[in-house]
């Protein structure tokens, strides 16, 4: 009967208080209560606001003594606090040093929070596929999409990109609008740097630990291990190296996925970013001799080429220039890769270097391909025509999903 009992809020710090504190957090841990419940318990038992701050996991919880949430201002260093785990700190918003009951609350609450962090890190992949999917779903109400993003630790105004992977998976990649977000590096497991939710770009070629400039776009994105189709990952972010993605069981992921990357924008624009990412994915290639080209394409670097996506697909007849590329491909195993290198490189000499050919060998090859194409790819006009033809060929090979 609600009228009969002492409210928990009336708990006074008498002789039995410490024991009750212990029992309270033990029960929370037994019941696998979440961080919010633990911080709330600390606030209620201490009778002052409590908070848990963990920049690494983008966790900012603040609860008032009546149990309601409240916006966090920066912590005051004079408050009493206890470390939870690598960088996470539990605070009671009261100047220290703590008395016996407060010390017990800090000890027990931080212990319970540590158990939650260890449990969620060990047992669950750092992904929430349903929430990722929801943020990308333009048919979902914006409020739902923002709430899903919040579950992933994203504020509405955080710049974030959507990534479309070749197998249909989707990832989110926080990053600034002007910087390159695809730089991620680190090792699996708990990170000590600023964590972000993101796709792993470049990375793992399957044999090496992977160290590829994120920008070059030639290598695939790695998928989070064993969590299925959609995901987010939490690598550290320090230098321009690829990431090795943490899998739930510590194994490394399927390497080398082709990826299209959407433009950065606020969370509410993620459906549009994802649509652009899927279009960009169609401009990617396997990076093989028969399908040379970038494994990763940024939608916002395609420029006007993106308009070609609607014009070329399984239902449209390839233009003669695409057929000419197919003829070239059939004529020599090196032909397409050579043409692609020339199309992409700043000079023929740079193309030769990329192909690891002597300059004169490249010239011989181009003489050969000149006969198969009916235009000269060494002219500026011809290079543009080649680039467009290569892009169209990829669009035909990668129909809209």
């Amino acid at each position: 009967m609600k009228d009969l009992a002492v409210r928990l809020a009336a708990l006074d710090p008498d002789a039995g208080a410490a024991l009750r504190v212990i029992a309270y957090f033990d029960r929370l841990t037994e019941g696998r209560a979440g961080l919010q419940a633990i911080v709330r318990g600390a606030a209620v038992l201490a009778g002052c606001p409590a908070r848990l701050a963990d920049d690494g996991r983008r966790i900012q919880l603040r609860v008032q003594p009546d149990g309601t949430d409240a916006t966090a201002r920066p912590p005051d260093p004079s408050w009493m606090s206890a470390a939870v785990a690598d960088g996470a700190v539990l605070w009671l918003e009261r100047p220290g040093p703590p008395g016996p009951v407060e010390a017990m609350i800090l000890e027990r609450a931080s212990g319970a929070a540590r158990a939650v962090l260890e449990r969620t890190r060990r047992l669950a992949p750092p992904t929430d596929p349903a929430s990722v999917e929801l943020t990308l779903d333009g048919t979902a109400p914006e409020a739902q999409r923002l709430a899903a993003a919040a579950r992933l630790g994203l504020e509405p105004t955080d710049p974030v990109r959507a990534i479309a992977l070749a197998d249909g998976a989707a990832l989110l990649l926080p990053g600034s609008a002007d910087g390159d977000p695809s730089v991620g590096a680190g090792s699996p497991g708990p990170s000590t740097g600023p964590a972000w939710i993101g796709a792993a770009l470049p990375a793992n070629d399957g044999r090496h630990g992977a160290a590829l400039p994120a920008n070059d776009g030639r290598h695939g994105a790695a998928l989070p291990a064993n969590d299925g189709r959609h995901g987010v990952v939490l690598p550290a972010n320090d230098e321009r190296h690829g990431v090795v993605l943490p899998g739930a069981d510590g194994r490394h992921a399927d390497p080398r996925q082709r990826a299209g990357i959407g433009p950065a924008g606020p969370v509410a624009a993620l459906p549009a970013s994802y649509a652009a990412a899927r279009t960009a994915l169609r401009f990617t290639a396997e990076g093989t001799e028969q399908d040379p080209g970038p494994r990763v394409v940024h939608a916002d670097r395609l420029g006007g080429l993106i308009l070609l996506a609607d014009a070329a697909g399984p239902g449209t007849e390839p233009v003669p220039d695409v057929r000419a590329l197919d003829r070239a491909a059939a004529s020599a195993p090196w032909a397409l890769a050579t043409l692609d290198a020339v199309a992409e490189a700043v000079s023929l000499r740079a193309a030769a270097t990329a192909l690891r050919l002597h300059h004169s060998t490249l010239q011989e090859r181009l003489t050969h391909t000149r006969r198969l194409l009916d235009w000269d790819i060494r002219e500026p006009q011809g290079r543009l025509r080649l680039q467009v033809a290569l892009a169209l060929r990829r669009l035909h090979r990668n129909p809209p999903q």
Binding site: M1, K2, L4, A5, V6, L8, F25, L28, P65, G67
Partner: protein, 322 residues
């Protein structure tokens, strides 16, 4: 039927450890008087009730049922109200054996802070000294007086609702039945908060929760036996004592019913909502996962308690157009 109970919500379970020290799950008849004397939860003073001047506090002695003593109505009016407001007629809980018209009135006061309303809380005679029908007839007499004096109380008679928790929820349901059957006051709604409505005390949830949580099967037997004596669970119990006994649930005002999944009253309350729908009536049912009896009042800080309280205010807004 399995007797494995559903788990408590983790936050509620932690709070229950503390609550259980002073409120054991099972109350027996010998414990009634000590419970009354103990005043575990101090009743609010007039100063508490005024909430710093937000409410004016008044008491009215009004006629009780024919041949019975007058009853006291506690009237809490939002300060500065200039137009007629909705009225909340409140029947307190306490298992039919405990409490007074100040008990639990903080809940309606919280609602009235969000949705301005005049609160009238009735002091009814308690069992076992005053068995059925004394408690419910006291409540009904106070309701009739309130409706007849709505203008004087600043209540819009079109927006008078009845509300109560636990035993008070059972009395509230009975008031709605009585008002319908006697052609009494027109009610705009009935708020049945974890209501105690079935003296048979034999549902799966009653069996599951025996010895656990708050107000278990033993406590329930204590309360119903105090009210009904040897008739409890028998064939001749009035629906005005135990509304689950009503055979006709049509023609009732819209109901708000909430209950925890881990309490004795879960199944009788869910059934009551279902039967209202089956009779063509309007009911909104909330079953809060892992809630024990009265969880939102005993552990108000828990997330599920905050949700439960917010749901009531949202329903009132929709119902009363406030």
């Amino acid at each position: 039927m399995t007797t494995i109970p559903p788990p408590f919500d983790p936050e509620l379970a932690a709070a229950l450890d503390v609550i259980g020290e002073r409120l054991p799950p099972s109350l027996t008849a010998e414990m009634i008087q000590p419970m009354r004397d103990g005043a575990l939860l101090g009743d609010p003073t007039d100063e508490d009730l005024s909430r710093g001047g937000a409410f004016t506090v008044a008491r009215r002695m009004v006629p009780g049922p024919a041949g019975a003593p007058d009853i006291e109505l506690l009237v809490l009016t939002p300060a500065g109200a200039r137009t007629a407001l909705p009225g909340i007629y409140h029947t307190h809980g306490g298992g039919m054996i405990l409490g007074n018209n100040r008990s639990g009135v903080d809940g309606p006061q919280d609602w009235a802070t969000e949705v301005p309303a005049v609160i009238v809380s009735v002091e009814y005679r308690l069992a076992p000294e005053h068995p059925h029908p004394a408690p419910v007839e006291d409540c009904y007499a106070g309701l009739v007086w309130t409706a007849e004096h709505a203008a004087e109380l600043g209540i819009d008679p079109q927006r008078l609702i009845v509300a109560g928790g636990s035993a008070g929820g059972g009395l509230t349901a009975a008031l709605a039945l009585l008002a319908r059957d006697r052609g009494g006051p027109a009610l705009a709604g009935q708020m049945l908060l974890c209501p105690m409505i079935d003296d048979r005390n034999d549902t799966p949830s009653a069996v599951q929760m025996a010895g656990r949580g708050v107000w278990d099967r033993t406590s329930n037997e204590t309360g119903w036996t105090a009210l009904l004596g040897a008739d409890r669970g028998g064939p001749d119990v009035s629906p005005y004592a135990a509304p689950a006994r009503a055979t006709d649930l049509s023609g009732l005002p819209p109901a708000f019913i909430d209950v925890g999944s881990a309490e004795t009253f879960r199944d009788e309350d869910v059934t009551y909502a279902s039967r209202i729908w089956q009779a063509g009536g309007q009911a909104e049912l909330h079953v809060w996962a892992g809630g024990f009896h009265g969880f939102d009042g005993l552990a108000p800080q828990a997330a599920v308690s905050q949700e439960a309280r917010a749901a009531r205010v949202r329903w009132l807004r929709r119902l009363l157009g406030a």
